[in-house]
């Protein structure tokens, strides 16, 4: 018998602190699996966000840098521009990437910065106890939208993939999910592609992973993943939003 599935080497032995059923664990594993497959652990440097994944620096065995809230793409830009042979990735939540860090996200994309961004969208601010996120759905009840997100007062959610794909520059943008095995497998492929693009010097790759927050959504892990299927994915459709590689082939 051979091992067909085991914990990736580029995850450390530290036990994850995430809530039971939190998809961060799945997504961390997919990133680690990509790093292992591509054999790049020795030259990878990851940038951790502020959010539930703030301690990601303890979970990946590559060199890691903790960034200020929202600033990971800028930190990654500094890292990549000074160490162009290294592989630089950021791992960010919806507040980090689409609220406080929106300028850094857009500008890294428009510079086609040769980095890999893993964007975890669970429509809520988990670490601080469940406040509204820029990706919280209309009507969604959170600690700072206790009567449901009122689009008249609090605006509409931001679809990051659609928005960034309007820019000319970014190389690859795909939205995936991890709510069932089929989606996890597609997410794994997308994340590996996002790293491979960087190795090949192609430019900015962002993978938005539609995720869940059972604790702050007030649901069991099972119900939360169903909610992803029923409510999140219809609002944030899965698929490839930008693929300059494919466009180049067509041209």
């Amino acid at each position: 018998m051979a091992i067909v599935f085991q914990k990736p080497k580029s995850l450390t032995s530290k036990e994850l602190h995430y809530c039971p059923g939190c998809p961060h664990g799945i997504i961390h594993r997919l990133v680690a699996q990509a790093i292992d497959s591509l054999g790049i652990e020795g030259k990878t440097i990851g940038v951790a966000p502020v959010g539930c994944a703030v301690m990601a620096y303890d979970y990946f065995s590559c060199d890691m840098v903790e960034a200020a809230h929202g600033r990971a793409p800028a930190v990654a830009t500094g890292l990549k521009r000074s160490l162009p042979e290294n592989v630089i990735f950021t791992y960010q939540g919806d507040g980090d990437l689409a609220s406080i860090g929106m300028a850094e996200t857009v500008h890294a994309a428009t510079r086609n910065e040769n980095i890999t961004i893993i964007f975890v969208n669970n429509a809520i601010y988990g670490m601080t106890g469940g406040q509204m996120a820029p990706t919280s759905l209309p009507g969604q009840v959170t600690q700072t939208s206790p009567y449901g997100r009122d689009v008249k007062l609090q605006g509409y959610p931001i679809r990051v993939c659609e928005m960034l794909s309007a820019l000319d520059a970014p190389y690859y943008i795909e939205r995936v999910a991890v709510n069932n095995v089929k989606n996890v497998n597609q997410a794994k492929k997308a994340i590996e592609k996002a790293f491979r693009n960087q190795i090949e010097g192609k430019g900015f790759s962002l993978i938005e992973v539609v995720s869940a927050c059972p604790t702050n959504w007030g649901m069991t892990p099972q119900r939360a993943l169903q909610w992803v299927e029923e409510k999140m994915i219809p609002y944030y459709p899965l698929g490839v939003y930008k693929d300059r590689g494919a466009e180049e082939v067509k041209a």
Partner: protein
């Protein structure tokens, strides 16, 4: 022939593996409490396991190792 091993100590009893298993041969063992205070997931019928690794795919904590 397939074998799954559970690192019971780090299981958080989230149950995602139980839902994912197409053969429905996993369960949370309510008679056990691991050192994290959870009911860990366990295999109930190893012979029926097809080594699909769906359980390990959905596990957020790399609790499961699959051999085939």
């Amino acid at each position: 022939m397939a074998k799954v091993t559970f690192n019971e100590d780090i299981c958080k009893g989230c149950g995602l593996c139980v839902d994912a298993c197409p053969k429905q041969i996993l369960k949370l063992d309510r008679s056990k409490i691991n050192r994290k205070g959870h009911n860990p997931a366990v295999m109930t019928d190893q012979a029926k396991c097809i080594g699909c690794a769906f359980c390990a795919t959905m596990c957020p904590d790399c609790v499961i190792t699959v051999e085939k």
